[in-house]
């Protein structure tokens, strides 16, 4: 299909969400900087959010059999708010970690090794 001339659907949004999600996962997996890991988390959450909003949208499906309706937006809102809270705590933890270890390298945070 020609994406420029035909209306897009939920699936296209979900693809973007999937890409962001995957990028987030990679980001979490490869960044040694704690802040990088944090950004990965943000990406992951955001990717999920796209799915929620897309599934709740009226513009992307005809009959809305699988539509979340406004609930999708509610969930997205809560995710955003909780992500903000999570970021605040994670940052605080990072700062604490930095205070204790003088680094933000997560590979150095292996004191819980079995």
């Amino acid at each position: 299909m020609n994406l420029l001339t035909e209306p897009v659907g939920v699936a296209h949004f979900m693809v973007v969400g999937a890409i962001m999600f995957a990028c987030g996962v990679v980001c979490m997996a490869v960044k040694r900087n704690a802040l990088g890991v944090l950004m990965g988390i943000e990406l992951v959450l955001n990717g999920a959010n796209i799915n929620f909003v897309a599934l709740g949208s009226k513009f992307l499906q005809k009959d809305g059999a699988f539509s979340l309706g406004l609930d999708g937006q509610f969930i997205a809102l809560f995710v955003i708010v909780l992500a903000a809270a999570e970021a605040a705590v994670a940052l605080a933890i990072t700062l604490n970690f930095y205070n204790n270890h003088s680094t933000v390298d997560v590979d150095r945070a292996n004191e819980l090794k079995g």
């Binding site: 996962v25 040694r32 890991v37 990965g40 590979d107 292996n110 004191e111």
Partner: protein, 845 residues
């Protein structure tokens, strides 16, 4: 506001205020001011406010119902209140049961001579505040029954209680600081169970303290400068003051008493009855470390319990047969009074249908149809009448206990162990009055037979108590026996049909007896002894106390113009009428007259020994002093009331009797069913001038006789009391030992009880214990086996699992790398793998 709305509100607040004060003091007592001094202000404030509210209720009652007695009983003395044409059955609840002249009923049943007089139903406001629960038809409610009697009692109780609160602030002053109780010895080095331990602990008893129970019953254990040294090896008990606790109990007591008075059903009465008993227990045992006090408290409680047992039987009889506890009609439901005496039958006593049916249950079971006609037949066969008698006797049993009537009178004199304000409030003015009050309240339910029992019990009580009082040496005990005796008067009065006379005496007595007690407290406060033989000549030292007490004595013996005169006069008049109608029971009048003479004798014996003559003990005399103002001002107030409460107010025509008449139960007592010879005269007949003249003569003569005798013995010492004592030595000792009642009870009840319990204890020790021992040995053996199983089987199993888990954990440890990024990978790989596996599995289906 209408009275039916106003009165419940006012009295409810007046009733609950002491509860609020109690609650406050319970929680914050020790922190109220220095050593809890504020607690007394809180309690006094609450009761004074209650009094003011009661007074407002009193005044508004008069405003609404007038001061005159209803009906034409008094002929030309009072104008009859024109009866309001309100149909009681139609009026809404809480209804104003107006003075309803049931002339129709009177006409149709105009068969006896009383029917020419109009029959009135008393004005009463009934209603329910709160329903606690409903069991079938029976509602357990917090309800009220307010009539003139309730209002009078409320005013009286709160007034006296207010005076006593103020008095107690002064009297209990010592409790504000630590106290050395010279009457309690403890072994040296004993420090008590910690200071301020709550409740009545057993501190001193546990530590083998010895009650140092000498003849001296000193309320005040606090240290004088000249304390005699304690015996070797012992110390006097030293404990913190309990000022706030005293007022806490007083408040609770006031709450309970007011609740009892306002109660609208007999179940609620019973609850508050018990509460009053508990308060009495607390207050008698206030000096809990003293063995005598704690014994007296126990005695009071247990003896009351005996009476309450009878009361419970009465309650069950009522509930089982009538299905209600309420006095008056509430919400269209017939109360007890209406069931026994209803307007359709001219308020005559009829066995209620419920009781008839109850008694005829056998026949109903046999299939006899309980139609209205059949019920009438049964009723004429006296079926169910016995049940009514039993209910009445049961309720009266409770009154016997509470009002210290023979044979349960033994607790009241011992109750003098409590602080004197308590004696004044609880054991003269209010609590013991509760029994009389309940007889008065429950009057419509009593059959003539029950009333006769009441009368005889009253007579016996008054006679026994009066004789004991003559020989007592302890000033408070004299008063205590006097109280018992006066309560006997009231019971007698009620028992011979003198309803208003009895209750009138209840109220006048409350005033002058509380006055007398408080005066005696003042004396004790001054002399630090209860023993009259160590007093004398105190009139000069403490004039306020002496003359207020003189007023009290004059009132109690029935000196004309003093309140006691009016009430006693009414009783005598009723007694005269009663014996005229029932010559067989003439002893009631003679016993009464003899009692009155003895009253005069022992009261003036007391006064003379205390206040006149020469001081017998100079040590005591030198220490004596007038009490502080906070104590004698209440005395003066009370003495004013003690003198004047029986008067008919000029111009207003306000008199207590008229007010009480407004609450008089409707209907005549009538003649006995089981004792047909017994017939009760209506009380108004005793107001006839001819009867009154006789009555006044009898009352005055007996009182004067007693007074003269006392004066001869103790006032002017013309006769020597010691001589008489020698002459009648056996009788004297018989009386000093209180008719050997305690010994009798000891022999009849306590000794057998000990015997039985010792047998039971032997059975317990030799049979049951041995069995249990053997059982224990068996169990022990069994547990050894069990232990082995536990050790080797269960533990072994658990250990194996534990080892497995441990080794598994060791080998899985390597997975826990502590690297965040690897964990992320694990999660993602896990998610992907899970999804793939699930899809594969689903596809395979």
């Amino acid at each position: 506001m209408d009275l039916d709305v106003l009165l419940p509100k006012l009295l409810c607040i007046a009733w609950l205020l002491p509860l609020a004060s109690f609650t406050l003091i319970v929680f914050f007592g020790p922190r109220m001011g220095k050593k809890g001094i504020l607690a007394s202000y809180v309690a006094a404030g609450a009761i004074v406010t209650s009094f003011i509210l009661s007074l407002i209720a009193f005044v508004s009652w008069i405003g609404a119902n007038g001061v005159a007695a209803p009906g034409g009983h008094h002929g030309d003395e009072h104008a009859a209140v024109s009866p309001l044409p309100v149909d009681a059955s139609n009026s809404p609840s809480p209804m104003r049961l107006a003075s309803l002249a049931d002339t129709h009923a009177a006409d149709s049943h105009g068969h006896d001579e009383h029917a020419v007089h109009e029959v009135h139903k008393p004005v009463a406001y009934t209603g329910t505040w709160y329903t606690l629960g409903q069991f079938g038809d029976l509602k357990i409610t917090i309800s009220y029954y307010i009539d003139a009697l309730t209002v009078c009692m409320f005013t009286m109780v709160t007034l006296i209680a207010s005076c006593i609160h103020f008095y107690a602030i002064g009297y209990m002053h010592d409790e504000l600081h630590d106290i050395t109780d010279t009457q309690v010895l403890v072994t040296k080095g004993y420090r008590g169970h910690g200071h301020g331990h709550a409740g009545h602990g057993h501190g001193a008893h546990d530590a083998h303290a010895h009650a140092h129970d000498d003849a001296e019953h000193d309320d005040h254990g606090h240290g004088h400068s000249d304390l005699p040294p304690p015996p070797a090896g012992y110390d006097y008990l030293h404990r913190p003051g309990r000022f706030h606790r005293f007022f806490q109990y007083l408040s609770l007591f006031c709450f309970s008493m007011l609740g009892l008075v306002i109660a609208g059903n007999i179940a609620m009465v019973f609850v508050f009855w018990e509460l009053v008993g508990v308060c009495s227990y607390f207050l008698i045992g206030f000096y809990i470390e003293r063995k005598s006090a704690s014994n007296a408290a126990n005695k009071a409680f247990i003896v009351n319990r005996v009476g309450d047992f009878g009361m419970i039987i009465g309650l069950m009889a009522l509930w089982g047969s009538l299905g209600t506890f309420a006095f008056g009609d509430v919400d269209g439901q017939q109360g007890l009074f209406s069931q026994v005496r209803n307007s359709a039958h001219n308020y005559e006593l009829r066995t209620p249908d419920g009781m008839v049916l109850q008694a005829a249950s056998d026949e109903i079971a046999r299939g006899v149809e309980p139609t209205a006609k059949q019920i009438e037949t049964w009723r004429s066969e006296k079926l169910g009448y016995w049940l009514l008698v039993i209910a009445g006797l049961g309720i009266f049993c409770g009154c016997v206990g509470k009002s210290a009537q023979f044979p349960l009178h033994v607790w009241l004199p011992d109750a003098m162990e409590g602080p004197t304000p308590v004696s004044a409030l609880v054991h003269s003015a209010t609590m013991v009055a509760a029994g009389v009050y309940l007889v008065g309240r429950f009057y419509p339910m009593f059959t003539p037979e029950v009333l006769l029992v009441i009368a005889y019990i009253g007579l016996i009580t008054l006679f026994i108590a009066a004789t004991i009082a003559i020989t007592a040496s302890d000033i408070k005990r004299v008063l205590a026996y006097s109280t018992v005796s006066q309560l006997g008067y009231m019971m007698l009065a009620l028992g011979i049909g003198g309803w208003s006379a009895g209750l009138f005496h209840l109220i006048t007595h409350a005033f002058f007896k509380s006055l007398l007690f408080m005066c005696s407290g003042s004396v004790i406060h001054a002399c630090h002894t209860n023993d009259m033989f160590r007093m004398g000549g105190l009139r000069k030292k403490m004039p306020w106390t002496a003359y207020t007490m003189l007023a009290g004595c004059l009132a109690i013996i029935g000196t004309p113009l003093f309140s006691g005169f009016y009430s006693k006069d009414a009783i005598v008049a009723q007694a005269v009428m009663f014996t005229k109608q029932n010559p067989a029971h003439g002893i009631l009048l003679y016993g009464f007259a003899g009692g009155a003479a003895m009253t005069a004798f022992y009261m003036f014996r007391l006064w003379y020994m205390t206040f006149s003559g020469k001081p017998r003990d100079h040590h005591v005399y030198d220490h004596a002093h007038e009490s502080p103002k906070v104590m004698y001002v209440p005395l003066v107030i009370l003495s004013v009331f003690a003198v004047s409460v029986g008067w008919t107010m000029p111009f207003f025509g306000l008199s207590l009797t008229n007010l009480l008449e407004q609450a008089r139960p409707a209907g005549e007592i009538g003649t006995g069913v089981l004792l047909p010879a017994l017939s009760y005269p209506a009380e108004y007949l005793s107001h006839a001038p001819s009867v009154h003249l006789i009555a006044t003569l009898i009352a005055s003569a007996t009182a004067a006789g007693g007074f003269l005798l006392a004066t001869l013995f103790y006032g002017v010492h013309k006769l020597d009391a010691a001589d008489v004592k020698r002459q009648f030595n056996p009788i004297y000792y018989f009386l000093v030992h209180k008719w050997y009642f305690d010994e009798l009870y000891n022999f009849i009840f306590i000794k057998p009880l000990f015997f039985v319990s010792s047998i039971i204890s032997k059975i317990d020790k030799n049979l049951i214990d041995v069995f249990i021992d053997k059982l224990a040995v068996g169990v022990k053996a069994l547990s050894r086996v069990d232990d082995a199983i536990d050790r080797y089987v269960v533990d072994g199993f658990v250990n194996v699992i534990g080892n497995w888990t441990y080794s598994a954990g060791r080998s899985l440890k390597a997975v826990q790398t502590g690297k965040l990024r690897q964990y992320v990978m694990f999660i993602v790989v896990g998610t992907v793998a899970l999804t793939v596996i699930m899809q594969w599995a689903l596809a395979a289906e």
